[in-house]
Symmetry: C2
DNA sequence: TTGTCAATTGTCAGCGGCTGTCACTAGCCT
DNA sequence: AGGCTAGTGACAGCCGCTGACAATTGACAA
């Protein structure tokens, strides 16, 4: 049981986030001012900045939730799995549990909408990529510990994570630009791209047939 | 022979860029205002924005030069080379020819300094990553054409480029945080990391010994 | 309950990045 | 020399964001 103050804070934050996402996905990110959001919620602009580090922060809040959900999944993978396999299964697990993670704030639909906004807004995409880079750092440490390696001296965990993230980045991007914009589609793309990882590296590219 | 107007424009732009880099590397990016730069050059703030799309743009101008130099190198690789090998050799070529590309504006030393600024300034790092993503798109098209593939339907060129870029990103980062901050060190790191690409993916990580 | 303390908020002022506008200056060209 | 145009400066203004301070509101004990 929480205090009234905490509940109020929670409600304000969620209201701000919900309105922000609503406006970003309808009007667009750049065409939405912080004042718009604050006014729609009925708080001062200053209050918005007390809940979010910046406009970006609100736009990427959902993304941050899914990322930390994914990282948690990686941590929870059984230690006997090879690292790449653990990442692969964790990311699929992440998609499967996305509802529970996101739905507490907005319907999954809105999440997908925000994804398109992020991909199509340069400044948001940039911020998203930087956060992904930070996540890579965390994943590197997790994997290194799993395997008993020191990430400061052994570059291999970091390299693996970078390669994996590169594939996921391609997947994200194709997903957001494709017409098929569902979680199932994302899942299928993930599987397909990771299967292509090995063959794509050889450079002996046999004719490609869609699966 | 160019007209006087064009020479003047060129000089103004270079002056702005030089001063910007000077201030960014000494005072730091955030602690340098556009007014500082404009005043130091002796032009109005408005003029700065006529030469650069933003403060970021000036900070990443050198980086943009090296990127396009690298892309050109890839285009010039003999077509019989496997894609990954073409990328590998092109990036090494890029480091070797960096002097000629950059020295026309500032000494290579300053370039290295700006690199550290970029890596340590969140907003710059974000912008840098986004530009890298754009470069990946270009490289994808170049490689796809080399191999006679259609990047719209065949994800393999894009995947290869993403993997390669991931490795280079790790290399950049380690380079910028290592003490050894020379082009030779960067070259060595590049070679070493690309050699580790295959072994790092297997996940059967034998004890690591530095080369 | 009531009074005190701490947390939350609103208001105001201000900085810095960035843009539109418009008049003015300086190079170009005949 | 004089008209044309590219480039510049000056000004006003929007927006993101921050610090400071006062006002309000919930928490908690007397």
């Amino acid at each position: 049981m929480e205090t009234l103050r905490e509940r109020k804070k929670q409600r304000t934050r969620e209201a701000l986030l919900r309105v922000a996402i609503e406006l970003f996905t309808t009007r667009g990110y750049e065409r939405t001012t912080v004042d718009d959001i604050a006014d729609a919620v009925g708080v001062s602009q200053r209050t918005f900045f007390r809940y979010f580090a910046g406009k970006e922060d609100a736009a990427l809040a959902l993304d941050a939730m899914t990322v930390s959900n994914f990282v948690d999944s990686v941590r929870a993978r059984p230690p006997h799995e090879p690292p790449l396999e653990a990442l692969r299964l964790a990311v699929l697990e992440g998609w499967d549990t996305l509802h529970e993670v996101v739905e507490s704030v907005v319907p999954v639909e809105r999440f997908l909408g925000m994804y398109r906004v992020i991909e199509s807004t340069p400044v948001l995409l940039a911020a998203h990529l930087r956060r992904s880079a930070e996540a890579e750092e965390v994943l590197t440490r997790v994997l290194a510990e799993r395997e008993g390696l020191d990430p400061a001296t052994d570059p291999r965990p970091r390299l693996l994570v970078a390669v994996f993230s590169g594939v996921m980045r391609v997947t994200e991007r194709q997903w957001s630009t494709d017409g098929e914009f569902s979680l199932e589609a994302m899942r299928a793309l993930t599987v397909s791209h990771l299967e292509l990882l090995g063959p794509a590296l050889t450079g002996k590219w046999s004719p490609y047939t869609k699966t």
